[in-house]
């Protein structure tokens, strides 16, 4: 067996190994840490691309960890959608990490930087694992790693509100994983399987014998992933956690972490439960309505926030609603929109949190009210904010419009006109809280005597790259859309 054969596992493993050695490396040669983690990201990215090439050559394939075939061993499944997720995770992980390199110096004590790198590697690795695994229990393990790493990456700042927020997150996250563990137990009880495919095959028979077991398990799964992905009304932990964390952490948590849970829910709903089961129990309907409430209330809460990062966090609740709406509509075009929005939102929210980080670092301001005239002192950064805000609203030329287009088209194809109206309405709500910030930033004079601190070029560069990407995916979305269309057709067969 060649090394290439092990790429699916290696993507995850190199991050985990990197996480282990990072604190040691930091003691020994602290300057080597950042290049090492960058290298790991690049390696993982290269491997993900190699997987993609292999997918194009031979179609989806499985990888058995340690050569133990299921039901005994852990199975990883590699298909287009999963590789799409891994590419987003690692690619944007790299992008945010580049920003973090300079930002951390201002937000963290120097001693803990090594720990931060370790947590970051752990986070990206566990998320890649969640994207690739085809095993319920393995998914649980990665969820736990990811959950704990997320908490730690918030509390590492050691300020009072960070500790409070991460404690809240820890409790709710533990509740989520607990629910999921019980759900696995219940499914295991009735089917005796943990592998996605094997459960799927055993479920129809089990459903006849133990319908209640499965109903409870389904409910638990929705609660578990709903909590983790901040599906309304299980979002209560998110605003505090994402707002108080160091800015790169916020970018990762809002941009990537909540998406991976939504993706996992999608995997379970579509690949563990047979289609007949989804028709019998209105899972999609529940997800759809919760997503709708999230979209509307997330935006409404965002309007009244005074803290910039809190506003962005509430906006994330609304935006993750789009992804869930794609899943809930149960329609290929809407799913396409949802998946495209995973990429889009990761980019724009990551960028917006970076912008918030730069503003806080340069001026020490984080209240929305105090941002008047900030466009005069940080022009490039605020232009990026404008592009991000426009993308949230769905102005043509930004990625946000394209995801909304497909979501709306999917809703129409599914004959659910109401949800098109929800999408349109939520765009308006987004406009109501993003536009005033942009207007005030550019058209009001900057008040403040304290000088604006210089900001590292690398950070501004990362933000600029994000801005270009948001525009690129809005102006030339065709390759990704064609890719996703083929992927969804292959994966779901719809």
């Amino acid at each position: 067996m060649t090394l290439q054969h092990h790429f699916p596992a290696l993507i995850i493993v190199i991050f985990l190994i990197c996480a282990f050695i990072m604190p040691l490396l930091f003691r020994w040669r602290s300057t080597l840490c950042a290049p090492a983690l960058l290298l790991v990201h690049l390696l993982a990215l290269a491997m993900a691309v190699a997987l993609l090439v292999r997918l194009y050559a031979g179609g989806p394939f499985y990888y058995h960890l340690g050569n133990w075939a299921p039901p005994w061993g852990i199975e990883l499944k590699i298909d287009f959608l999963r590789v799409y997720m891994v590419l987003i995770l690692v690619g944007l992980g790299l992008w945010i990490f580049v920003y973090a390199l300079k930002d951390l110096a201002h937000e963290l004590k120097r001693e803990v930087t090594g720990w931060y790198y370790a947590l970051y590697a752990l986070l990206i690795g566990s998320m890649s694992g969640m994207a690739l695994t085809n095993d319920m229990f393995n998914l649980f393990v990665f969820m736990e790693i990811c959950g704990i790493a997320s908490c730690a990456i918030i509390s590492i700042k050691e300020s009072r509100e960070c500790l409070e927020a991460s404690f809240k997150y820890l409790i709710l996250s533990a509740m989520g994983t607990g629910c999921y563990l019980m759900a696995i137990a219940m499914i295991y009880m009735v089917t005796g399987q943990l592998n996605f495919q094997l459960i799927r095959e055993a479920l129809p028979a089990a459903a006849g014998l133990y319908p209640n077991n499965l109903l409870v398990a389904t409910a638990l799964i929705i609660v578990a992933f709903g909590t983790k992905a901040a599906l309304f009304p299980l979002h209560v932990w998110l605003p505090d956690a994402h707002a108080s964390a160091p800015s790169p952490s916020s970018a990762v948590l809002s941009g990537l972490v909540i998406k991976i849970y939504a993706f996992s829910l999608f995997n379970i709903l579509f690949f563990v439960f047979p289609a007949s089961f989804r028709q019998a129990v209105p899972i999609n309907e529940i997800v759809l309505w919760l997503a709708t409430l999230g979209i509307l209330f997330g935006s409404i809460f965002a309007m009244v926030q005074e803290d910039l990062k809190k506003m962005l966090a509430y906006s994330s609740i609304a935006q993750i609603g789009y992804v869930f709406m794609g899943i809930g509509l149960n329609q290929p075009t809407a799913l396409l929109g949802g998946f495209y929005h995973i990429l889009n939102h990761a980019l724009m929210k990551g960028m917006l949190f970076m912008v918030a980080g730069v503003i806080i670092q340069a001026t020490g301001r984080r209240r929305v009210k105090d941002l008047n005239g900030i466009g005069h002192v940080l022009p490039l950064v605020m232009i990026a904010f404008t592009v991000g805000g426009f993308s949230m609203i769905g102005i043509p030329g930004t990625g946000g419009l394209i995801s909304k287009w497909y979501l709306a088209e999917g809703a129409l194809l599914a004959n659910r006109l109401f949800f098109v109206i929800v999408i349109v309405l939520s765009s308006l709500l987004n406009a109501v809280y993003y536009l005033p910030i942009i207007i005030n930033a550019f058209l009001n004079p900057y008040e403040g005597r304290e000088p604006v601190k210089p900001v590292s070029r690398l950070m501004v560069g990362a933000i600029t790259a994000g801005m270009i990407a948001v525009i690129f995916f809005g102006v030339y979305p065709k390759p990704v859309i064609v890719f996703l269309k083929a992927a969804l057709a292959a994966v779901i067969g719809m």
């Binding site: 609203i393 769905g394 102005i395 043509p396 030329g397 419009l401 394209i402 909304k404 287009w405 709306a408 088209e409 129409l412 194809l413 006109l417 098109v420 109206i421 349109v424 765009s427 308006l428 406009a431 109501v432 536009l435 005033p436 207007i439 058209l443 102006v475 030339y476 979305p477 065709k478 859309i481 064609v482 269309k485």
Partner: protein, 496 residues
């Protein structure tokens, strides 16, 4: 001429101003004169490019060009037919004049290096709207133009301007979303949003009706029809006068243009009539006409009065669309020309008054006609055209509209036209008459001297005012012929 070169001209026409925007921006950092010259040159070149299409368009050619596929089944494409040409030529023409006018007018204002690039960019976006070959492209340029025009609205950055601008922005976003909604339903019903095929929607249904309503909201928002006009009387007056002229003269027309496209390309005349949607437009049009004129009566700020007058005039165009026979369509398209010229004249003349004397309130203006006889002369000519006094072009468009209404057996609409003309007279004459004959006593105090604005401001006003006269006086002038051709092209798919 081969295919590629043939389609290159319209693409050049809208792309050139957009590409020149950064050039003008950077030129502005070095020298104001260079910046102004570049801006003017850009508009002139663009105008010439558009005009050069005339022989081909008049020969019945429809120039089409597909840029690239933005999404599967959605293209960025361009298509120039008679209607596109009419509006594109008109806008490029007025833009040239407004740019000339801006040179002196804006010399006193701040942030010229922001104003000119934005002015030129909106020209490109505007032409992009008129030349779009499908609704998706149209939507993109529509949003671009609307958002960029925000910078023109708030140019003076006074609290009033910012407030009006915010209102404008929110309404624009609402309009854009309504368009998005309409376009996506059209896409769903028709499978494409291209303008080149036949009607996209074949039968009435709830979805089709919703699409129609959202188009009406989206484009009507821009056109300032009741009850979506609320942003207009705030936003148009606060902008610098040349920008107001463009906002009222041209950018309102993008809404009318969009509605025409919707009626003829998304739906069809029969469908609109069978669904009874023409009646909806008719009712809205009547309310818009009466409300615009009635509120204009109460305004003392001259630019606000003009803005309300624009609302009333857009009502005429909507009225023509609701009757939908050949004569009303001719009237519609001719009124687009007419109103663009008249309203630009009025705003530019008002701008000259404000620029020279600082007076914005009509109550302060008695006697001003003796100070600025030339400006007020042009203003009066345009105002009389707006009222619809015979040899002027406003009369011709109203006459054609009225003729169409009578043909359709709707004398009620003729009555509305008459009442509105009366109202127009009621709010324009009290500006003109005192301007020339009022305020005599103050002459004794201040003496009598002529204080006109600079020639660079007067010439554009004069050209436009002359246009109102020429295009009304000659029975077969180019705009009227174009309107006739376009109307029969739209109704019958080709006059040729």
């Amino acid at each position: 001429m081969n295919e590629a070169a043939a389609s290159a001209v319209p693409v050049f026409a809208f792309l050139f101003p957009i590409l020149m925007t950064p050039v003008i921006m950077f030129a502005g950092r070095r020298s104001g004169r260079l910046r102004n010259a570049l801006a003017l040159a850009t508009t002139v070149v663009t105008f010439l490019a558009v005009i050069s299409l005339y022989p081909r368009i008049i020969g019945g050619e429809v120039i089409q060009f597909t840029f690239f596929e933005i999404l599967p089944e959605l293209h960025i494409s361009f298509r120039v037919d008679l209607l596109s040409f009419c509006l594109a030529a008109l806008s490029a023409f007025i833009w040239v004049l407004c740019t000339i006018y801006s040179i002196d007018y804006m010399a006193r204002e701040h942030a010229g290096s922001r104003y000119y690039p934005v002015l030129i960019f909106t020209l490109g976006a505007c032409l992009g709207i008129f030349m779009a070959g499908d609704f998706f492209t149209l939507f993109i340029f529509f949003e671009l133009m609307s958002l960029i025009a925000y910078i023109l609205v708030i140019h003076e950055e006074t609290p009033a301007a910012l407030k009006a601008g915010y209102k404008y922005l929110i309404m624009t976003i609402i309009g854009g979303l309504a368009l998005f909604f309409g376009i996506i339903i059209t896409f769903e019903l028709g499978g494409t949003v291209s303008l080149s095929g036949g009607p996209l929607v074949q039968e009435t249904s709830l979805l089709a009706f919703l699409a129609f309503i959202s188009f009406l909201i989206g484009f009507g928002m821009k056109a300032g029809i009741f009850p979506l006009h609320v942003w207009l009387p705030d936003a148009h007056p606060v902008a610098p006068s040349p920008a107001s002229a463009l906002l009222s003269g041209i950018m309102l027309k993008t809404g009318a243009y969009g509605l025409l496209r919707v009626i003829f390309h998304v739906f069809s005349v029969e469908l609109v009539k069978s669904g009874g949607w023409d009646k909806i437009m008719g009712v809205i049009a009547v309310i818009t006409i009466l409300l615009g004129s009635a509120v204009a009566l109460t305004q003392d700020d001259i630019k606000r009065r003009l803005a309300y007058s624009s609302i009333g005039q857009m009502g005429y165009i909507l009225l023509g669309m609701s009757i939908l026979n050949e004569n009303t369509l001719i009237g519609d398209i001719f009124h687009i020309f007419t109103h663009a010229m008249i309203k630009s004249t009025l705003f530019l003349a008002a701008g000259a008054i404000i620029w020279k004397t600082g007076k914005r309130l009509i109550s302060e203006m008695p006697g001003i006609g003796r100070q600025m006889p030339f400006t007020l002369g042009c203003f009066s000519l345009a105002a009389l055209a707006m009222i619809g006094i015979p040899p002027l072009n406003g009369f011709l468009s109203k006459w054609t509209l009225g003729l169409g209404a009578l043909e359709a057996g709707m004398p009620f609409y003729v009555l509305i036209l008459l009442v509105s003309s009366l109202l127009n007279a009621l709010y324009y004459l009290p500006i003109i008459v005192p301007a020339f004959f009022g305020g005599l006593e103050s002459d004794h105090e201040h003496g009598f001297d002529i204080k006109e604005a600079t020639p660079r401001m007067l010439v554009p006003v004069a050209i436009l005012a002359l246009g109102t006269l020429i295009f009304g006086l000659l029975p077969s002038n180019i705009p009227f012929d174009l309107s006739r051709l376009t109307a029969s092209y739209l109704l019958r798919g080709g006059p040729f």
